[in-house]
């Protein structure tokens, strides 16, 4: 089943919604009053970016861009763990 004609109309609309969401997350990242707010915003934005990369690779009919989606989701988890371990280590004192 060739779905290229539908996807070429559908994916630009959906990516506009995702870009609007990423802009709102960017507001929280730049204006966040404390550090955990910024980390939460970067976390949400990274997972959004994974979906965005998947949609872009579906739009351009290529299968190799999807690997970046896997990497960026792992990176977001690592970022959370590193930030919280850094703060907890400061609290424990050793």
């Amino acid at each position: 089943m060739n779905t290229s004609w539908f996807l070429s109309l559908y994916i630009p609309v959906i990516t506009c919604v995702f870009i609007a969401a990423i802009t709102l997350y960017m507001y929280r990242i730049l204006r966040g009053p404390t550090i955990p707010d910024m980390v939460l915003g970067i976390d949400c934005m990274s997972y959004d970016l994974a979906v965005f990369i998947a949609l872009v690779s579906l739009y351009y009919d290529t299968s190799f861009l999807i690997i970046g989606s896997l990497m960026i989701s792992l990176w977001a988890f690592m970022f959370d763990v590193y930030i919280s371990k850094y703060y907890l280590k400061k609290e424990l004192g050793d």
Partner: protein
């Protein structure tokens, strides 16, 4: 006959995938609005959960279903579907762990103010 049934099943799978991606986009926009509008960090975590599970896991499963029936991707479309589904599963496992560990660090060190608060059992235990 069999060929026609296959076409119908492919169109149903494609429709389910498109519905999942649309639902994910709507959830994502609502979560972004919540992350901007909610008052403090511990309330914003609820919106972040909506944005991760509803806005990233559901559309990735939808992309996986769409790519499974799209013939124009060539023989690598099974790789596409597999990596997309695996990414969805990985996000569903790792995102709650990250949010919980971040909330634990923020609560233990008072990194962010807990202003609209009713009860704080964890703080009572610490004292």
């Amino acid at each position: 006959m069999i060929r026609m049934l296959g076409e119908i099943i492919q169109q149903i799978v494609f429709g389910i995938g498109v519905c999942l991606v649309t639902i994910g986009a709507v959830f994502d926009l609502l979560a972004a609005l919540g992350l901007v509008r909610f008052p403090c960090f511990y309330v914003r975590m609820h919106a972040a959960t909506i944005g991760v599970i509803g806005g990233a896991v559901v559309p990735l499963i939808g992309v996986s279903l769409i790519s499974l029936v799209s013939d124009q991707l060539g023989p690598y479309r099974f790789m596409f579907a597999g990596i997309s589904f695996f990414t969805a599963l990985l996000i569903m496992i790792t995102a709650p762990v990250g949010t919980h560990i971040l909330a634990n660090a923020a609560h233990k060190l008072d990194l962010s103010p807990k202003e609209p608060i009713i009860v704080d059992k964890m703080g009572e235990d610490k004292r």
